[in-house]
Amino acid sequence: MISQIFILSSKGDHLIYKDCILTTGLLVALFCLCLYLLILLQSHKGLHFIHVRQGGLYWVASTKTNPSPFTIIEFLNRLAALTKDYCGSLSEKSVRMNFALIYELLDEMVDFGYIQTTSTDILKNFIQTEAVSSKPFSLFDLSNVGLFGAETQQSKVAPSVAASRPIMSSRGEQNEIFVDVIERLSVVIGSKGVLMKADIQGEIRIKCFLPTCSEMRIGLNEELSIGKSQLKGYSSAVRVDECRFHQAVKLDEFDTFRILKVCPSQGEQTVMQYQLCDELPCAPPFQLFPSVEKDYVNRSVNLSMVLIFLKLRCDLPPKSTALNVSITVPVPKGSTSMSQELSSPDQTAELQPKNKALLWEIPRFPGGAQLSALFKVDVPGLSSASLLEVGPVSMSFELPKQTCTGLQIRFLRLSPTQTGLSQRWVRYVTHSDSYTIRI
């Protein structure tokens, strides 16, 4: 049972505060401290605080009983997701602008500290306030894409802002449905380039703007196999270890045709989650060839530097690119300054003495390309052991239009055909959850 719910900005101001049952006083001041120390659970005088961080905001619930932490955390996540659905995006600004709407949502979701419902289908009957969108949806956002082609061709991309608008706005009524395949990649590559660990966590997420939607059929790759036992023949089948589905998904055609049937409700929902461990169907997207050397500029004044030469190869297919690639290389303690030689002007590199690391950023990295960079880091009083401090290298990046498992959506059918034109978008993206390369 939840006693209070509040939403705090990153600075600790309260944006939303709802007291579900009679409680005395507000302990937000104390709570801020917990946030500062990154404690998930904090107890004070029998009141336990649990928080979740989403969209730069803190979503906090306090409780006097000893409930299931999973329930509370998932509820707070769901609250954040619903707020995002209704307000369009999650930010301090949008929460401030739509506070009346959020109060209304909370009022229907929680009564006397008990969760009543979080389903958009039910909620939409009760929610009357209209969302104030911080940036009105405009058709100009769509101008650079083929408007009428929402088929599953990969060449056509939905604008990234299109999905971030309130689901229930009367203006700009667009019958759109977005199906996203999102994969998170976590990889550890050993010092000799050996793949040591590879995990893919994926999900198929639907964001539906259709006011009413009957059954939708999502066709996945026909050769998709689940689990280790099901490998058919010698074909390079798309394989996942295990998958779980939203409870509303009907699976009667899944076993034979790999078709998911679902009646999506408005808003965002995850219809399928899957994972693949220890085995990547393709090569890992990046390979790094580092070399680290010690160099004395002037032995007498003990001026020494570390030369770090990095050669980075992108093993994606030539047509695709990786975006926002950033590489963090730990450097020895006491590094003072750095000079670098980068291969193109759009790349940047800087030394972050506070994190003992250098950060190399590449905004765009085409598949098959190879980039190299030379960093000279000045370290006064360098010892040979200091070189051990260089590494492991960690990378973060985004691979649009890519799935590492190879999972694809064959087709997306709304049946029976909806009244009016409905646009269907399919998007693929792979994020790096954690990509570590040891030196």
């Binding site: 302990l27 329930t71 690391a357």
Partner: protein, 741 residues
């Protein structure tokens, strides 16, 4: 900044709300109401507008109604007489043909927290229980619980309880669950809602209709039910089987808990359930939400207490991600240590090795300690890594490695030779007192195997005057005496100097007494000393004790899926959890200083009724102003906080205090004794100045406790109490974190 001119704001809003022109324009009117609510959320007191808001409630616009109701629920307890005016409108709405309006009015009427409310809401609630719209019934059912909480000590209304039990058969699933919740509240004193066989089976059959939140709640209620026979038990288990693999983690975990509880007599069933749930549990450990990840990891740890092998093959899932927050990394390392076996040890060690150079010293030290734990079984590989780390010559790493060596030697004597060789070759000495103590212990205990031991120790004895920590001095005394026993020729001279200094010049009584003890002991003869001072050099039997043992599931299943595992300790459910948190371990002594403002009775119970004060930073004070005020004012309040000062870094402390709106003016650096800090804050129209003083540890009669002295202008005892309470909470919160690492 609305906090400053609050009266102005309220006045302006009232003018606008009562302006007939505004009232005529519905949009403008609603805008002003929205403004009122916005100020309310920001913490401004807008209760003075109650009358105008009551008027605004008579509208057909549902959005406006909702906003006004929200306002009324917040302030009803402050303005009970005015709230009564609103009740008529609400009761009228309860008979509205639109079920949404009916439900809304009923819910908000029940939310009014004021005495005498019961007589107004009883009739609408009873009517609501029989309403044909399920939405109204849901609200009415919970209304019963709210009504009971308004008058907690009155007798339980039998008719309502019966009606609620009957409503468990309602077609609407939310009504059913709400009935359970309401009955639980109402019958709390009698042990909550009774789950008998028909109710249990009814609930089980309805499980599929419920949404996930209700499912996990019903599963928790079902924990109360005991099946009569094994047949019934297995029927229930097979009904619930599908929920073990639910895509909602909270349902899967709640089901697992019920399985473990029901099948407590069937260990094989329990093991099977754990095996099947390991996949969803592992999935939560890799969930996108890192809070969920943390909860998952904590529960995995709990399961591993009984089934250490369950996650063995999935050890790679517990490798730390690069961007994960440190609270997750700590948990993952703890799990990794448990999962080590012959096959994966090399990979796990390589992974842990890469964390040892982490930017965060806490994390690096934890990783080193983790390697040390693995070294108890796989000493050779781990010692290589640890020795390599010493080469980095970084203070925090060296210190952690030496501490790890000390523990390792104690647990597994076979590694002594290797450790001694490494320590002897190590030129770098740790700088913090923990590390120094560990090194001294090693030198004293195994001085015969470390050739350079006397010279290292001599360095410490020569630097004794600058040593601050008395714990290090005591360790040094013991180590020197032990060393004297095995290498007398080299040690005799320095031991003499050490004893002389400690007896003649040392101000800490404990150190002096220890030195005197050894001095007299040595006077009795070497053999006598040897008998007293030398003990066992290691205790291999300890590693058996600390090694993993499979606990029975019943040890932990009562706290599974509660906050207990997250808190890191076994909070017993419900009452124990609250009482444990209620007792701060400190003793708050209030020394009332003579000749000060007379304090009222409430001062004797400083823990109640604070928090209402609000602190603010206000304009900064200059050092000069502070100093002048500090000298001018008299101390109003002095209190021993009962715990030492937080060992956090100065900027951590400063930032933490700033978060609760306490400004730090100055503090003495590092380990200086006595440690002082000057802080100040503003509360409602008063300025509070305070000094934190870490008592001189060497001085007799004072313990390591922190003393706070407060001065204030103008005097407001209430604010002081609040301030001290906030301060105490902050410092206490900082303390356990440090001690855990």
């Amino acid at each position: 900044m609305p906090y400053l001119g609050s009266e102005e704001v309220v006045k302006e809003l009232r003018r606008a709300l009562s302006n007939p022109n505004v009232q005529a324009d519905r949009l403008r009117y609603k805008n002003y109401i929205t403004k009122v609510i916005r100020y309310m959320t920001q913490g401004l007191d807008v209760s003075a507008l109650f009358m105008d808001m009551v008027k605004a409630s008579a509208t057909v616009d549902i959005v406006q109604k909702k906003l006004v109701y929200l306002y009324m629920c917040t302030y009803a307890s402050d303005k009970p007489d005015l709230a009564l005016l609103a009740i008529n409108t609400l009761r009228k709405d309860c008979a509205d043909p639109n079920p949404m309006v009916r439900g809304l009015a009923l819910r908000n009427m029940c939310n009014f927290r004021m005495p005498g409310m019961t007589e107004y809401i009883e009739q609408p609630i009873v009517a609501g229980l029989r309403d044909k719209a399920s939405y109204v019934r849901r609200v009415a059912v919970l209304g019963c619980a709210k009504m009971h909480s308004l008058q907690p000590n009155t007798e339980i209304d039998g008719t309502i309880v019966n009606e609620l039990y009957a409503l468990l058969r309602d077609p609407d699933p939310v009504v059913v669950v709400n009935c359970l919740r309401a009955l639980e509240e109402i019958l709390k004193d009698e042990g909550g809602v009774v789950i008998n066989k028909p109710i249990a089976h009814h609930l089980l059959n309805r499980m599929k209709d419920l949404d996930s939140w209700a499912q996990s709640e019903v599963l928790t209620f079902l924990l109360r039910y005991r099946p009569r026979s094994d047949d019934e038990l297995f029927d229930i288990l097979s009904l619930l089987d599908a929920f073990l693999l639910s895509s909602h983690a909270h349902v899967a975990v709640a089901t697992l808990r019920l399985f473990l509880h029901l099948a407590s007599a069937h260990p094989t069933v329990q093991a099977d359930a754990l095996l099947r749930t390991s996949a969803p549990l592992l999935a939560t450990c890799g969930a996108a939400s890192r809070e969920l990840r943390f909860a998952g990891l904590c529960h995995v740890q709990q399961v591993m207490r009984s089934q250490p092998g369950l996650f063995g093959t999935h050890y790679k899932r517990f490798f730390c991600g690069y961007s994960e927050p440190s609270y997750i990394k700590f948990r993952k390392m703890e799990i990794l240590v448990e999962l080590v076996n012959d096959e994966n040890v090399a990979l796990v060690l390589e992974e842990l090795r890469s964390y040892c150079t982490d930017v965060s010293p806490e994390l690096a030290q934890a990783a080193i300690a983790a390697i040390g734990r693995i070294a108890r079984t796989y000493s050779e590989k781990c010692l290589d890594i640890l020795t390599g780390l010493l080469g980095l010559k970084q203070d925090h790493i060296t210190s952690a490695v030496i501490q790890t060596f000390r523990d390792l030697v104690w647990f597994c004597p076979q590694s002594t030779a290797a450790v001694c060789q490494t320590v002897g070759a190590c030129v770098d000495s740790p700088q913090d007192s923990e590390g120094k103590q560990a090194l001294l212990w090693l030198l004293g205990e195994h001085g015969d195997q470390i050739s350079s031991a006397p010279y290292v120790m001599e360095g410490y004895i020569d630097g004794l005057k600058t040593e601050l920590s008395s714990a290090v001095k005591m360790e040094l005394l013991t180590a020197a005496v032990k060393m004297f026993l095995c290498r007398p020729a080299e040690t005799q001279d320095m031991l003499g100097r050490l004893l002389h200094y400690c007896i003649e010049e040392e101000s800490d009584v404990c150190v002096r007494d220890r030195a005197l003890l050894y001095y007299r002991l040595l006077q009795r003869g070497v053999e006598e000393t040897r008998k007293v001072v030398t003990g066992p050099k290691s205790d291999p039997s300890m590693s058996v004790l600390t090694g993993r043992q499979e606990e029975p599931i019943s040890e932990w299943d009562s706290t599974f899926n509660t906050l207990g595992p997250l808190a890191g300790c076994d909070l017993c459910p419900q009452t124990a959890a609250t009482s444990a948190a209620d007792q701060p371990s400190c003793r708050a002594e209030n020394e009332l200083l003579p000749g000060k403002v007379d304090t009222d009775v409430t001062l004797s119970s400083p823990d109640d009724a604070e928090e209402e004060i609000s602190l603010s930073l206000g304009p900064p004070l200059s050092h000069e102003t502070f100093e002048k005020m500090w000298l001018d004012l008299e101390t109003l309040h002095r209190q021993t906080l009962g715990f030492p000062r937080p060992r956090a870094a100065p900027d951590t402390l400063q930032a933490a205090l700033q978060l609760v709106k306490i400004q730090t003016l100055a503090f003495t650096p590092g380990d200086t004794v006595p440690w002082k800090a000057y802080i100040y804050t503003r509360s409602t129209e008063t300025l509070i100045l305070a000094e934190l003083l870490q008592g001189d540890q060497q001085a007799p009669g004072s313990d390591e406790s922190l003393v706070v002295s407060v001065k204030q202008q103008p005097v407001n005892q209430h604010a002081i109490r609040g301030f001290v309470s906030v301060l105490k909470s902050v410092l206490q919160t900082l303390n356990p974190i440090k001690s855990k690492n």
